[in-house]
Point group: C2
């Protein structure tokens, strides 16, 4: 092991194993996760060269192979618990995606939730045995966020008891679904249902798109890969154009809405029934933000402990770059955010499961708050993690640009979360809609509960000159900082609500008023989410009994909160929550916290407990042997397969003879 | 043409051609640039399919081909003016780099500036005729920023009158130089010179690395490609390990320092002589920031004029997404920044040439300021453009992730500017060193000139309670905003200087004090650069006579300045330069400015005058025919060459039979 990184581990003030157990949930879970991970790591079928050395077609090929192998191996091992499957796949996938991903995340769950009993009998065996391999085709070339305007049609023909599916325009071509281009032989297609001359809006249909024997596209089906993207090389995101494709009436998912043989349409009993999956996926993305950021921090912090550069004191050896304040200021707030998001992810997962229980009991009361929170936190954490990965990459200097660092892979694999499952700005505006509604409910005398209960306290928000009010914040006390974030959020929700009101008084329509207040509305959501994150981080601390771990996490929580204040200091000053002298104190306090974190930085990323096989990063290796490994990696790369590249003979040599 | 985008052009309030001429410098230059661009666009040799459809090896091959062809064609056309060559290559390269890039930017210039007359006679004909194709090998696997610690050695052997070059450790392997892996047969190698038992520090040596006949690596030379990166697929960044490689004494570049046949070492007369190239490249990068950002804005704004989504008013058709305030708030400040950086780039280029003239007259007096400014503005503009490209990409929704948008290509091609030619944080600290020095000079009674002259006015910076001082800023007046930025910079330079002083009073060493003040120092540089950008934008306005163009640029300048204030409102409040009520007014003013910009948004990006062939973006097409082109592009992509991918037969079909 590299002596620098060994010394870092020796100097840590806490036991990383205890912290790993907290992150996993308990010691048992850590143990089981590691057992499952060992299955993958020791499996010769999963040994392969760096995917970055392959062409797109080879990478897709490798991903299909891996997806197929995982199915067999999980059956052989008898692993069926969803969390255990997740552990297994997570390490097998590394920094990439699974070729059959949409089959699991969208095709099967939609069949489970929207099939009638007869449909289940037919389709589940086909889908569960991968004879029907499917995806979920919603987004169209010209339509993303606003699904009501999707153009694909499904017109019922009672004479044959079939639906006729059509993509009538270029903009109506289904576009983006994962696994659609080459992998799937079925798609659940979202289409406007027409029957008896009337449009009944969007419904879901099971559409066979490729022959189950030959895998050739079926008549009327134009299907293919949408071409290279920013990452996702292993996934065949696809397009699908349907021209008079006929499917039996029974291929409409009919658990809720129905079309009878004569073409009569029966409405679904409620439109909230398919609401849950979306909230679930968004809530899970919060956890993905934590993972992407914690992986990136692991790589950047370990490398910063190994890398020596420049000089702090003349004549002395080059210091570890982790000793530079500027480097710490880049990485330690991100490390703190990685921990914060991990705990927020745990909270979202727990809350989702709790509320799902309530819903199954018929109690929908907490769904709106969860929906708003999932939307906002999805946006808040993905934006922060997205920017944070790039900060980590650039904190590794030139070597961060090499694919051997894996930071580019982590970025391109993660960045779509800012857009899919709800574009982030749209998400922030959804959360804002909920916040403004709550704000108005309070004005009307209602009492709120849950994460928005702070809006109950309007008296604290009256504008007062800074000098005449007592300072709210004690910058050394986490509870006081939570309070400051809460008041900032309350203030910005009020500003947004008043902006809306002001626009309406200028006799503008509701819709224009909303659009003209977007800046304030997004800002309000952002402040709300920021408060929730700080609050949940603080709440998590109360659960931690180990003194040493508690202490280091408390330091991180303070850093997270104070750093967020400096980035948004205008808000806090404007709301009178801070004084100008306090702002300078905060910078000093941040420096002191970074000094506290410094000896534990490597131990804090070790606690995330990523195996080298998961990170796949030369810079982030546990043993710190960075340079030798980088040289070995480079020598294996494709351009080095010949000493002289063919372009020399084709172009460079002839050029010389001409000059 | 798409009717939406036609309507946008009809509604513009100014003549785009006039603005294009301003950006080019004059109408003549616009004309000549377009003539040269037409040569490339109409050339069948430069027609090729999307590089994103190719493997890394194919892309490198295509780049070598293009580099070779450009040499012949430029000779045939008789184009030899550097700016005209730049126009030609810029459009031929598109969003990518040139295979022979380092030969032009580093190998040749180093020969020109550091060869003795005899060396020129030998090497220039070889290099100018591409018989010697070269690169510049400085960075090592373990050494980047701090070049004094480079480990490669060149030891003089008087018995044979040769230098013996060695990379004695893994960390001393030359790493990263463009064109080193496969293309170059020579490298200028930076190495520690040892002669007569003494080390004389870094010197430059011409080292043949591949046989000029066979292109095979020479004995003792281990050379190869460093492997795939985040972009730069077409460039063979390389590694080079030298083991007892002997070169004649005459291969040391000896214009300044010299080693005589007996091994005696003669010192160079000054160490500032090679200072200029570095400043030049950094100054040029400012212009690259402007180009990358203006390309990205062109793509995102044109697409936002074509894309319709969601609803503003119930029952009405989906609006152009450019009508959403949230979308404007993402893109218009970036558009303003793209203009700002363009003008700053022009200023840097002009200033560089002016000061180079002074230097040639023996006047070095303005070099330190230029050096500090180039470092800081390089960092300031590349960071802003880097983040801005990603905002543009994500503002295009899902389609921004497709390689057909070219936004991923623009990003990965641009992002290394944050690290190469001086890592950005290191650059900011260099600028800070200059600012603190200036601050101290003022305290000692000196009077400063140039961009730092604002530090002469310390009396304006005394802390005063906000309520008791007159408000400095008129938020509707650009000059007043420039003044506010100036005072913010002065304040933050003072904060940084005082932090240093405070650390020193705690009897810490100079070096530790510097490190412990990094946060404040970077902040000071950032504020200084921000001020310079706002100032130069305002200054440019005074040169513009066309009323309509002046008006729209003035709107952009105000937006740039006010948006920057909202992002850093804490600084302005803290310095007492703004009041809390003014901050709300600024948001309102920003909204009003965006409404003013809206009808001119497409015309403002049209004025950058990028040809479709330069942008290579389906989303950014001039004619707005986005969706049809995207479908055509996708159909050509590699995974669609067969209807059924081989992985179906290899894995998916066998899997089914097993289950």
């Amino acid at each position: 092991m590299n002596p620098d990184i060994r010394r870092e581990r020796e100097n840590a003030t806490f036991n990383t194993e205890i912290l790993t157990n907290i992150l996993d949930g308990c010691a048992e879970k850590t143990k089981r996760r590691r057992e499952i991970e060992s299955l993958v790591v020791s499996d010769p079928d999963f040994q392969h060269d760096d995917l970055n050395f392959m062409s797109r077609s080879e990478r897709y090929d490798a991903a299909v192979k891996k997806s197929s192998q995982m199915i067999m191996k999980l059956r052989d091992y008898g692993i069926s618990d969803p969390e255990e499957i997740y552990f297994y796949k997570r390490i097998a996938r590394g920094n990439f995606h699974e070729a059959f991903g949409l089959h699991y995340t969208m095709f099967l769950p939609t069949l489970y939730s929207q099939c009638t009993p007869e449909q289940r009998k037919k389709w589940l065996p086909l889908a569960e045995n991968f004879k029907a391999l499917g995806t979920y085709a919603q987004t169209e070339l010209g339509h993303g966020t606003h699904i009501r305007k999707l153009e694909t049609t499904a017109t019922y023909d009672p004479s044959t008891q079939e639906f006729v599916l059509n993509c009538p325009t270029v903009t109506s071509i289904k576009w983006w679904p994962g696994g659609l281009g080459k992998t799937s032989n079925h798609a659940i297609v979202l289409a406007q249902l027409y029957t008896q001359g009337k449009c009944h809006g969007l419904h879901a249909f099971i559409v066979p798109i490729r022959c189950m024997k030959t895998h050739q596209p079926l008549p009327g089906v134009t299907v293919g890969d949408i071409g290279p993207k920013f990452g996702f090389d292993e996934v065949d995101n696809g397009y699908l154009k349907l021209d008079n494709v006929r499917i039996p009436r029974e291929n409409m998912l009919m658990k809720y809405a129905q079309v009878e043989p004569d073409g009569s349409y029966l409405k679904p009993p409620s439109d909230k029934l398919t609401y849950g999956t979306m909230v679930f996926i968004r809530a899970m993305i919060v956890g993905e933000s934590a993972r992407a950021l914690s992986k990136s921090c692991t790589i950047a912090i370990r490398y910063s402990a190994v890398r020596h550069q420049s000089e702090l004191r003349p004549g002395e050896p080059e210091p570890q770059i982790l000793d530079y304040q500027a480097q710490q200021y880049k990485l330690f707030p991100l490390l703190a955010a990685a921990y914060a998001f991990t705990f927020v992810g745990q909270y979202m997962s727990n809350t989702y499961h709790r509320i799902t229980g309530d819903i199954n009991q018929g109690d929908f009361s907490q769904l709106p708050e969860l929906h708003a929170l999932a939307a906002g936190l999805k946006a808040f954490t993905t934006w922060a993690a997205n920017a944070g990965i790039e900060v980590c990459r650039m904190a590794c200097g030139g070597h961060g640009y090499s694919r051997c660092s894996s930071l580019p892979d982590i970025y391109v694999t993660f960045t779509p979360t800012c857009t899919y499952e709800g574009e982030n700005t749209v998400m922030m505006l959804q959360t804002a809609r909920y916040l403004v509604k709550c704000y108005r409910q309070v004005r009307e005398g209602q009492q709120l509960s849950g994460t928005v209960s702070y809006l109950n306290e309007p008296q604290r928000l009256q504008p007062q000159p800074v000098s005449s009010r007592p300072t709210v914040v004690n910058i050394n006390d986490l509870a006081s900082l939570v309070e400051a974030y809460k008041l900032r959020a309350a203030k910005l929700v009020e500003v947004a609500a008043k902006s809306l009101q002001g626009e309406l008084q200028r006799s503008i329509s509701q819709e224009d008023a909303w659009n003209n207040s977007s800046i304030e509305l997004v800002r309000a959501s952002d402040a709300h989410c920021h408060y929730v994150v700080v609050e949940l981080f603080a709440a998590k601390l109360s659960e931690i009994s180990d003194t040493a771990v508690h202490s280091v996490l408390n330091t991180l929580a303070l850093l997270y909160a104070l750093h967020g204040i400096t980035l948004n200091s205008g808000d806090f000053l404007q709301a009178g929550l801070l004084t100008v002298p306090q702002l300078s104190q905060i910078t000093q306090r941040i420096k002191a916290l970074m000094v506290e974190i410094r000896p534990n930085a490597v131990a804090l990323v070790d606690s995330f407990d990523y195996r080298d096989e998961t990170l796949n990063s030369v810079l982030g290796r546990y043993d710190g042997n960075v340079y030798e490994s980088m040289f070995e990696w480079a020598k294996r790369s494709p351009l080095n397969r010949t000493e002289v590249h063919e372009s020399y003979y084709k172009y460079m040599k002839p050029l010389r003879s001409k000059l």
